[in-house]
Symmetry: C2
Subunit: 633 residues, 2 copies
Amino acid sequence: MSRKEFRDLAEPVAAHDAIASLDLTPETETVPLRESRGRVLAERIDAEMDVPGFDRASMDGYAVRGRDTFGAGEASPVELELVGAVHAGAEPDVTVGEGEAAEISTGAVMPDGADAVVIVERTEERDESVLVRDAVAPGDSVMLAGADVAAGARALGPGTRLTPREIGLLSALGVDEVPVRGRPTVGIISTGDELVRPGDPLNSDAGQIYDVNSYTVATGVEEAGGEVRLYPHAGDDYDEMERLLLEAADECDLVLSSGSTSASAVDVIYRVIESRGELLLHGVAVKPGKPMLVGTLGEADDGHASAYVGLPGYPVSALTIFQTFVAPAIRRAAGVPEPRTATVEGTMAVRERYGEGRLRLMPVGLVEDADGETLVYPVDKGSGATTSLVEADGVVEVHPDTEYLAAGESVDVRLFSPDVRAPTLLGVGEDDPALSRLLDRLDAPRYLAVGSREGLRRLRDDVPDVAVVAGETGRDVDSVEIGGWTREWGLVVPADDPNDVSGLSDLVDRDLRFVNRDTNSGLRTTLSNALADLAAERETERHELVEAIDGFELTTKATESPARAVLRGKADVGLGLRATAESLGMGFVSVGTETVRVHANPNRTAKGSVEAFSALLESADDVFDTLAGYDSD
Amino acid sequence: MSRKEFRDLAEPVAAHDAIASLDLTPETETVPLRESRGRVLAERIDAEMDVPGFDRASMDGYAVRGRDTFGAGEASPVELELVGAVHAGAEPDVTVGEGEAAEISTGAVMPDGADAVVIVERTEERDESVLVRDAVAPGDSVMLAGADVAAGARALGPGTRLTPREIGLLSALGVDEVPVRGRPTVGIISTGDELVRPGDPLNSDAGQIYDVNSYTVATGVEEAGGEVRLYPHAGDDYDEMERLLLEAADECDLVLSSGSTSASAVDVIYRVIESRGELLLHGVAVKPGKPMLVGTLGEADDGHASAYVGLPGYPVSALTIFQTFVAPAIRRAAGVPEPRTATVEGTMAVRERYGEGRLRLMPVGLVEDADGETLVYPVDKGSGATTSLVEADGVVEVHPDTEYLAAGESVDVRLFSPDVRAPTLLGVGEDDPALSRLLDRLDAPRYLAVGSREGLRRLRDDVPDVAVVAGETGRDVDSVEIGGWTREWGLVVPADDPNDVSGLSDLVDRDLRFVNRDTNSGLRTTLSNALADLAAERETERHELVEAIDGFELTTKATESPARAVLRGKADVGLGLRATAESLGMGFVSVGTETVRVHANPNRTAKGSVEAFSALLESADDVFDTLAGYDSD
């Protein structure tokens, strides 16, 4: 098989430079003021009018000639003849002469002749006159025309981001359209014959999967201030790919391709860029991102050239490379500053070895300790799992020469989005339907269903806040138990139990296809213990029974997975819970009950979210009541 | 005149409680995944399918039976018969038997019979066979169905904010519509007969002004996660106001009124609420915000009741009260957390006295010192100026018992928007057209055109980074001059100079209406000095000449203001610059030139933005070249 090999990987700085050399800057556009929030002014705006446009009373009271009030005081009021009234929004129909006054409201036009306002609190109205108990100077309680903003004055400069207050100032100036920096148009082409857009039907037997990167990257583009065009899926056919890439280049400032991990699709794009554009670099010395492509597409001279960046296929890798190399370029083109929340500082919770000799963009998760300090732990090991997307909060740049990051070392984390926040609670351990409902009632928890054994191991490393453990684990980890429940477990069978299964013995003695859970699962350990009891009863060894069970090593990851395998006809019997059998409308053969215990990290018991979880465990009987086979202890 | 008086002001906490007691929560809605960025999940989403949906090759290579490779190594390859190939997105048309292998691409479905992949780098393809140089165990380089996400597993919990990564995970699950928290609908009614919406024609003679608060508050509502409905302007008529308020209550979760400072409009709303809703509180012991109203509108029992909050009329006050009391309630209803950038910490740059016995929400500006520390200075003195909107960055809560804030005291500033940033450069001083163009080339400067004298005074207080000073000021302030220019000044007259003005003498000797600048302006001082020279020439006193000038005390705020007064026919002659006369197409009588100097704060010369300004002054000759009467020194 022939494959495009990337040799002579470019340095990351060269990738930044290559992308910076591309022109993504769109044309300036004009938008209605009302829709300008978050946009960036393209040019200076000077006031074209005075604000206010007239001499304006700034208090309720009486418009007078200041000199008529000289000498007035509490004990020596001056009486002025009342000649009329002026209200806000009305043209004065009165002139104030010597010895005269006109009632005036805040915001009203000062009538001719008057040059000051006596506030109402210092006056007393008589029949056709007003007593003034205060001397005012010309200009008192009057805002002169242009005193707020003068015509011709600089109002806002180019590059100003429009927030409520700037929009307020522009409103005052009567501006209803503003010239703003355009948003770069970014085309997203998703490649790979196997990709299907969310919402369309999926044929798993033909190896189809949903396209993850198109929407992920599209959302990242919008966050960075770009406008997205999604193009239909391109297969791996050269002509079709060429047509699509050139169409996108024609319509966009930047074209991103993303999605396929298949070498052939990458190879096809590579050939199109080489023949219909310019390849600036292929392959960057960064993990992940080796297969990154940077270039231009289309003919520069007839104005159709567009920038092009090819992202890696794994979702976390695609988002990482996008946020590291592409998002800054989109922000620059849009004139949008880097969000202040894009980066957080934390300390490594564990030691992490490296030493691969190229820059690593290491996906990490965040958790706060009891003092609110941010701890950072590595998440994705390059598995390509989409779950890593939500298990990692951002990336740490690890220098090529770094051999390891020590626990306690300070690191900067660039978040996957400025809106990403560290979870309030980090839990690990057993997958359990009651737990899932309990988590719904906590504020922004993260729970990694890694199984009871792996959960306890992580708790020992002091990373999570709590570990949820089912059954007997045989491990001794320092922790504080904050609550728990019991659940009924056994064998999940089809609804009508066609094989008439009655217990574990049937698995051993009969020819039934079984589906088990993985070895980290507490439920699996409980099953093993029950088989040990059965072996003792039969005066044999457990491994003899295990070997007699067809499918004992056929393991699955989640609580419902064995039952769903039975539902699909892939097996006759699955290990599972009564609650699962009931929710899927299946048959259930009870074997026993097991405990589920919530173990808090002893250093985090004072953390607010752990206290909240602890309180919830004491008050959430309704959760256990509604699930079959559950008991709140 | 009768006015609604607010007695027994409520405590601020009571205002928070009253607003919290209102139900703003909208219904859950379903949105397309592609449009769900920033939304908040209304309910838990469990995986409805396995991801991947099939056993998937995770590397390019050959699908084999693991046990067939046992014992294989670099020196002892195993030869397997090549029976076909499987590509990503295609259904396998081959079965792998004992001693057989099939070529396979990353992402392709594992063919029946095979349980592991040998990566291509450890193989060598022959004619119809492949040499395998590595032993693989069952499962190697294979991602089992459901290994990423298992059907039935918890994917995302309620309350999760959707950022690129969550949208990626939901894509992987094939979810194309998501249940999200609704956005509360907020109706904005702008009251006051004098208000005109931006874009509509304005009649200043009738005291009309543009409506500032509607768009300001609308933008704030959107930032907080609400959806806005703007209602047409309501006048002060009771029936019309009642109709409009009830219509808005019917259509919205919350109705805000804002805009008018007029007592009669507030009074009308007060009466409508009392008769057609429930008044929870009126008047809060907070400065600003005394006239705040909180209540409900419409009938609760037929489902049309809506919350109501009345905001003060001054723009800075309206935005302050909105951000303090209303935005948190909108965020709660939308399920959106408070932005982390909503608050910054700083130290008071100056001492500020208070002691009014009620909570003060003090508008402040921000500036960074040379070390990047944030300094905070008070801005608005309750003048109602819209310019305060962009001169202040946020508010500091000053406790009722506080007598003063000391310079150097640490304070928290709640920004007017999470997108607000402190300016990089804070300049104060003379208004000048060349300066305005220079500022366009700096990154996010703030310039307060307070005049040369006031600018120097503020520089002495160590608040701004630079002061720009025109002419001779007679003040001695410690500063570092970083550059400057000269400008030609004189008398601006109509284009055809109908009065045949030839110089200052004409102002004194003839019956011409003059418009001056204010006393803070350096240009005004330069004029005064020129008049002193003329007086000396005539062997008289300057005040004699000044008194002979009709309009010498008629002062205006900005460079162009006198010229524009002449343009409008309000005067015959205005004090101004040759550049202004030229840009407005007017006549000009030259009197002299004056220097303009940029004085840097001696403690800020190392600040990046000051260095950038200094460099700009040396390189921006083109700015001076294009302005009439300007010289770069």
